[in-house]
């Protein structure tokens, strides 16, 4: 199927009333949870996984994708108005967006962010249409060794691009792989680590694990911080940016689109990395970098464009290679697996309505978001009135009822609770749940591919390096390890430049405030896990 007829198929799928309704729900929920601090896209998608069983696979992905890029729009609102990033990718927006709001330019800040996000999303969709089919065609020739290389690459990059300690992330990935082996061995049928518990024969339920680690774990963790959210009472005026605003930010939007697209495609990429990279790029290019942190509109337009572009292009590796590049995509991958659809190179051929339907829904969803955001900002801000305690109580109840509904099994509720405790403890001890879940999802694929490779090669590891594609990928991994070892200092320096410490604060705040904002970003940040924003939050302390 060529791209053109694919697009036609896609729109015929995405424009059915059900799918239109779900993309609308998706972007609406996404915006709302983007606004609400403490409930990020990862937690929300984890909580809503049970619902996806009741609908068609394509509808499920449309819904979850909508939540993901919708949250990128929503996170902007609180960043600009309250200096409180609703989700990790918007941390950067607080630097200049909040300053613009203080100068009475909250409207244009939100407006340019919405327009930029729309452009970024659209550019990414076009890129996806052009890039995905050839990539999938290349991947069709992949054998087991290539899949070993790909999955290992995905896990490796997620551990490398996360916050803090690579070693900690690596141990979590190992734990995820180990947990994935629980249940009957797919080849010999031997029961592994089931301790005679029949409920474990099919392995730990992915949904229960994800809901526990991200849903319950997040909620508990956010409950412990007793942030007060002040209500926004001032009216937001003049959302549509002026011609000058557009002129000032057009370059940033253009660069943000391309940069975001490129970063999103890379495993481990995603919203946070791309928005930080875009901010750094704009600041470096600016004639007068000192304007940044004082309300430069490019500092809002670039990162907001980039994070939305990357949240769209992140679907490329998932839908063409079957490799989720970050944790949100891992959850969507899990949702598809549960529906007996394994995303991979054959997806475009075998399930064209999923691939093209999702792409078309993104075009529609981004339009909806633009339409929702410009006139309804005031309404979304009112969402902040919902108190954290109420949100937590209902989210937990939905989680518990939801996970029961998956298999109608009380055992899964205990699994959720258990992993909720683990998730919360991991947060407390600086272990990231992201690599664990990603590895857990990829574990069975990796094991099967590894064992098949061993059978193919007669027990020799040469097979991984002698075949050109897998050899190339392993070489690439080696390169990443070496380069990151060399540049880890430099990376810190880049994030140090983006650090909000240079934000000029004269009123209302103590010197501690910068640190607090950065730190408050990180709980939300954890929910996407691909965040270097943790680095931002630690940098001030390190000085």
């Amino acid at each position: 199927m060529d791209s053109w007829s694919g697009i036609v198929t896609g729109f015929s799928v995405a424009l059915t009333p059900t799918n239109l309704l779900y993309v609308f729900f998706g972007v609406l929920i996404g915006t709302v949870i983007g606004v609400l601090p403490g409930l990020g896209p990862t937690a929300t998608i984890a909580l809503l996984l049970p619902i996806t069983y009741t609908v068609e696979p394509v509808t499920a992905v449309i819904l979850l994708a909508g939540i993901y890029y919708g949250s990128m729009y929503g996170g902007t609102i609180t960043s600009v108005l309250l200096r409180l990033p609703g989700e990790a990718a918007s941390v950067v927006t607080t630097f200049d967006g909040y300053q613009m709001a203080k100068q009475g330019r909250a409207g244009p800040a939100l407006g340019i962010a919405a327009v930029g996000s729309y452009i970024g999303g659209t550019v990414s969709v076009i890129g996806m249409i052009l890039l995905a089919p050839p990539l999938a065609q290349l991947a069709v020739s992949f054998g087991p060794p290539e899949y070993v290389a790909l999955t290992v690459l995905g896990i490796l990059l997620v551990t490398y691009l996360g916050t803090g300690s690579v070693l900690k992330s690596m141990s979590m990935a190992a734990l995820g792989l180990l947990l994935a082996t629980i249940g009957l061995d797919p080849i010999t049928g031997t029961a592994r680590f089931t301790f005679g518990e029949v409920a474990l024969f099919n392995g730990l339920d992915f949904v229960a694990v994800a809901m526990g680690l991200f849903g319950v774990g997040e909620i508990l963790h956010s409950l412990e911080r007793t942030d007060k959210v002040q209500a926004v009472t001032s009216k937001i005026k003049g959302i549509w940016p002026t011609r000058k605003d557009f002129r000032d930010s057009s370059g940033a939007i253009g660069r943000g689109s391309l940069l975001g697209f490129a970063i999103g495609v890379l495993p481990g990429g995603g919203g946070v990395v791309s928005s930080l990279a875009s901010y750094a790029m704009e600041k470096r290019r600016a004639k007068d970098p000192s304007r940044f942190g004082k309300g430069a509109i490019e500092g809002v337009a670039g990162p907001e464009t980039a994070n939305n572009a990357s949240s769209t292009s992140a679907f490329i590796p998932l839908l063409t290679l079957g490799i989720p590049p970050n944790v949100v995509l891992a959850l969507i991958f899990g949702a598809l697996l549960v529906q007996d659809i394994t995303p991979g190179p054959q997806l475009i051929e075998q399930e064209p309505e999923i691939f093209w339907g999702v792409i078309a829904s993104m075009v529609i969803g981004n339009l909806m978001l633009l339409a929702l955001n410009i006139p309804l900002v005031g309404f979304f801000v009112q969402m902040l009135r919902v108190r954290a305690g109420i949100l937590a109580a209902f989210a937990l109840l939905v989680t518990m009822a939801g996970v029961f509904s998956v298999n109608n099994n009380v055992f899964d509720m205990w699994v959720v609770l258990g992993f909720g405790v683990i998730g919360w403890l991991m947060k407390k001890t600086g272990f990231e749940p992201g690599p664990l879940v990603l590895a857990f999802v990829l574990g069975s694929i990796l094991e099967r591919a590894f064992r098949q490779s061993m059978l193919l090669s007669g027990g020799s590891f040469d097979i991984f390096v002698t075949r050109p594609i897998s050899g190339g990928m392993f070489a690439f991994m080696a390169l990443i390890i070496i380069v990151s070892a060399i540049t880890s200092r430099r990376r810190k320096a880049v994030f140090g430049r983006v650090d909000p410490a240079d934000v000029d604060e004269t009123d209302e705040t103590s010197p501690d405030a910068d640190r607090q904002v950065a730190a408050e970003g990180s709980p939300g940040a954890d929910s996407t896990t691909d965040e270097p924003s943790g680095s931002t939050s630690t940098t001030p302390g390190e000085r």
Partner: protein
């Protein structure tokens, strides 16, 4: 409230004063994982490793648990404590919350959805959310009703039979 600063900003400040105790205590997490890794190594050996030419069911778990053991062993020795969050008064509340979730599951099994959901909402809204009684009861009644309609009537989820079903059915 000061709680937010101590919860989020303290890892860097707290370690300075209370350094010593922390530096030893924080090793528990990687140590537990290390133990898990070692146990898993023996567990997978027990499953039968097979040969590389014909991998047994234990081979892959064995490789993975080696990785877990290796990384956590280094972590026990080298882990910097800076990304650990301190335990606060909030922590006790979280533990209480966890226990309440466990109780919820037990109640759910015996009394069904309606009673347990209502009690859980009351507890969480009143005790953990600090809502007024009016809000608590209103939201708990409304919330339970909406959830019941959503899950049982709309999605047709067969929750365990409980008191309400017994009353209606009887």
């Amino acid at each position: 409230m000061h709680g937010s600063t101590s919860a989020s900003g303290a890892p860097t400040e707290g370690t300075a004063d209370r350094g010593h105790r922390w530096r030893q205590l924080h090793r528990i997490a990687p140590l537990l994982l290390l133990v898990l890794g070692v146990v898993a190594i023996f567990g997978s050996r027990g499953l039968g490793l097979g040969e590389l030419t014909a991998p047994g069911p234990g081979l892959w778990p064995f490789i993975v648990s080696l990785l877990l053991t290796g990384t956590t062993a280094v972590l026990v020795l080298l882990d910097p404590a800076e990304d650990y969050e301190p335990w606060t008064r909030g922590t006790v509340r979280i533990m209480a919350g966890l226990v309440s979730l466990g109780v919820f599951i037990l109640l759910f099994q015996t009394f069904g959805f309606v009673v347990s959901a209502f009690l859980m909402l009351v507890l969480w809204l009143k005790v953990f959310g600090g809502e007024s009684w009016r809000w608590t009861l209103g939201l708990a009644v409304g919330g339970t009703a909406v959830m019941y309609l959503l899950f049982v009537e709309l999605l047709g989820v067969p929750f365990p039979d409980g008191l309400v079903d017994a009353v209606i059915g009887g």
